[in-house]
């Protein structure tokens, strides 16, 4: 635990990726199994359970410090684990801390009461840094500026293998990754994962560069719609079947209606949508299914889960990612023939012979609320995990805009915890502002500083961490879509709202009205 905490502090305060990589590789080389594997799991976010809940930490803390002082400290520090790390009373006792794996095992085997005892025991003898590490580890909230992707790359460097090999293995392996290290250090063969029902890393598209139209030769590019659903992966092997989200989470339990219809082995890439009698419903409809971890029969009947398939990674039990897209598409069609279900459909290829035709299709697609724009894929592209250059492009429909007034601000998390960086904004209905959304991106660091400063000077009230501000600052908010919503007082919900421009110049009275917002809702026909 001691060296784990030291590593985290070093990683946290090191800004260069190169140095982070050196630090981690050095740690891996001098740390035995299974400790180093658990460290990798903590960094890459693959721990599967919380040791304790934030609420439990808070309860224990409040038994030791006055509630108001805790609240003021938390408000200042902006982050729970760090607040507790500093506030927890030191003990004069000393205790040799267990190894990381021993510690994890102790928490794993403890019941709820024992977890509390363990927490108290360790927090009392730890340094503030070690406390922070334990709390972050135990609530799976560790952020030290290393993405999962970087962790994989560092592992690849460590074992001198290709990062794509790590990517392919990744979801079939579990912490503490001893077989992975055995292979990386040359003691054994590469782990065999052929039959495992696991998520395969996906291939992603680049945004189509603006002002840089694609040289379109019909035989080189395959054009498809970009659907407004969620990207999923269906995996069916001898051993079973599962549906995974883009982040590799198993979401099978939420979509049993879809899984029941398919038995044909393979790994299929596609879009999860609500498909009713062959018609695609809106994202809003899908949202109602996504909100339910275990849907009832009625909901599944009203909003049946559908699958718009667009690629195949494994055909039967044979990996086909190295084949060009044109050949994969043929295999996908053959696979689909055997499935025969009206809610599993092939993403159609759109014919565009000229650039002018392509633009026309794009404009048409942009007006359709069911799609988000177009996908352009090279016919000869292999299926490469990650975001390879020049292979796939997404041509997203233009965002919509509204001028809204900032109403409330809240401090962000992590690096931004000392700034007001989460903003609730509203539009006018008569002489009242109605909140219609929240945004926390789209501004530069420089703008963030100015916004933060503005909030501090214009606060008029406080509700816990939320600061109410004078209704004076207008921001132009961009968003992908607007839907009717019963959950919001304004009756609308925005999809992916973000700051487009801060209108320091614009008087609040000239911001948009709720009617303006409603007019942007595209009725679905």
């Amino acid at each position: 635990m001691k060296s784990f905490s030291e590593l985290l502090q070093q990683l946290y305060f090191t800004s260069s990726n190169n140095e982070k990589s050196c630090l981690l590789r050095d740690y891996l080389a001098r740390t035995p199994d299974p400790d180093r594997g658990w460290t990798i799991a903590a960094l890459a976010g693959t721990l599967t359970f919380d040791f304790f809940k934030r609420q439990a930490i808070k309860t224990l803390m409040l038994e030791r410090v006055d509630a108001d002082l805790f609240a003021m400290s938390y408000d200042y520090v902006g982050e729970m684990s760090e607040t507790v790390a500093h506030l927890w009373p030191d003990s004069s006792e000393t205790l040799e801390l267990p190894s990381l794996s021993a510690l994890i095992e102790q928490f794993q085997q403890a019941n709820r009461e024992q977890v509390k005892e363990l927490l108290v025991k360790y927090l009392s003898v730890m340094t503030p840094e070690q406390r922070w590490s334990l709390l972050k580890l135990g609530t799976r909230g560790l952020r030290v500026g290393l993405s999962t992707r970087s962790v994989k790359r560092i592992l690849a460097d460590y074992g001198n293998v290709e990062v794509s090999e790590i990517e392919t293995l990744w979801h079939a392996l579990a912490p503490p990754y001893t077989e992975l290290f055995d292979w990386l250090e040359g003691r054994s063969e590469k782990p065999d994962i052929r039959d495992a029902v696991t998520y395969h890393p996906v291939m992603l598209a680049h945004p189509l560069p603006e002002n840089n139209p694609m040289p379109l030769a019909k035989e080189e590019w395959q054009v498809e719609y970009k659907y407004d659903g969620i990207r999923v992966q269906l995996v069916i092997t001898e051993k079973g079947k599962a549906l995974f989200s883009r982040t590799g989470d198993d979401i099978s339990a939420a979509f049993p209606d879809l899984l029941a219809k398919i038995d044909e082995p393979g790994v299929i890439d596609g879009e999860l949508l609500i498909i009713n009698n062959g018609t695609i419903d809106t994202f809003n409809a899908l949202q109602q299914r996504l909100n339910r971890k275990k849907p009832g029969k009625k909901l599944m009947k009203e909003l049946p889960a559908g699958f718009m398939v667009y690629d195949i990674l494994v055909n039967g039990d044979c990996p086909v990612t190295a084949l060009p897209l044109s050949e994969r598409r043929q295999l996908l069609a053959n696979w689909l023939d055997k499935v025969r279900s009206d809610t599993v459909i092939m993403s159609p290829v759109i014919n565009a012979n000229t650039l002018v035709e392509l633009h026309a299709i794009y404009t048409e697609a942009s007006a359709d609320p069911g799609v988000e724009g177009l996908m352009l894929k090279r016919q000869d592209s292999a299926y490469q995990p990650g975001r390879p250059a020049g292979q796939w492009y997404k041509w997203k429909r233009q965002a919509k805009h509204l001028d809204a007034v900032i109403m409330y601000a809240q401090r962000g998390h992590g690096k931004r915890s000392s700034f007001y960086s989460d903003f609730t904004f509203g539009v006018w209905q008569g002489d009242k502002l109605l909140p219609i959304g929240k945004a926390y991106s789209g501004f530069t660091d420089e703008e963030l500083k100015k916004l933060d400063n503005w909030v501090r000077r214009n606060g008029i009230g406080r509700f816990g961490p939320v600061r109410e501000v004078k209704k004076e600052l207008v921001v132009e908010v961009a968003f992908d879509a607007i839907h009717p919503s019963k959950r919001h007082k304004s009756g609308v919900a925005l999809r992916f709202p973000r700051f487009h421009r801060i209108r320091w110049d614009k008087p609040a009275s000239e911001a948009d009205t709720l009617d303006n917002a409603l007019s942007l809702i595209v009725s679905h026909t």
Partner: protein
Amino acid sequence: MQAEDWLQPREHGLYCLPADCYIDPTTPVQCALITHGHADHAIGGHKQVIATSPTLAIMRTRYGDDMAAQTQTLDYDQPYQLGFDDDPVTCTFFPAGHILGSAQILLEYRGKRVVVSGDYKRQSDPTCQPFSPVPCDVFITEATFALPVFKHPPIAEECQKLLQSLQLFEDRCHLVGVYALGKCQRIILALRELGYAKPIYLHGAQLKLCELYRNHGLDLGELTDVSAVTHKASLAGEIVLAPPSALNSRWSRSLPKVRKAMASGWMQIRARAHQRQVELPLVVSDHCDWQALLETIAEVNADEVWVTHGREDALLHQLKLSGIKARALSLVGYDGESDDTSDEEITEGAGGL
């Protein structure tokens, strides 16, 4: 007569009515009592300034020899009479342990004793005389680090971190952000005490004040102006002290493979270290941490505590819990903007930037 009848927060600072004089005023006045030389407490242009001799020297260094029309040196523990002979205010300075020359000001009037403690700390600091608790009826305290999360470790521990980092990253220039007045000299002495004998390199803004500390008998060892170093690559593996604003400036880019450190009480909070892109945060403060504030208040045993300068809310709350009468003294200009502005540059003064 209550203390608030003759000692009042006014627009430009705390005003003592029967002495017709301000304490640490933020605008030029007729008569000013100055606790210490930080820029948020000591400005130039007053008609008369009463301060300790080092504080006057600091003010002359910063604002020139004509920083005030008249100056009056007042040593520690020497009562000095202000106001009318038949209704006098007696003013006495006591060491505050904050920086060289820093003083608490005891004002006695009609039998009431009020201590304006200015900025102060309880940790040991060889650059100045240690804080001496003065029993009083009203104690006016700062609250810069008045939250129970703040715990200032011993300075030797923090400087040891810097020396360890030098060993680990021997090819990197260790650039340490320090305030030019007080923090800079304290860090230098702490490094010397740990046996660091190599020259320490300074940003131009730090030189004059180090010279002043030297003239007051502090042996800072060999100091070199960075701008006098022609071959900047030779600064690899060396310690450079600079004002915090220079950490991410163009100036710092001329140094070889910079590893950024910063010595400040705020460095205890991760987000603050991150904000300044600090890789090596050193928790060193010239103010009291939470525990030291509470201990000091218990020690001076005042009937009443007035709180200013920082996070008053938490301290007031704690004092209420302990049954001590307390109130916030809102002074304009010290802790500038709002309740959560928390930059030592504001509270400690511009520090020679």
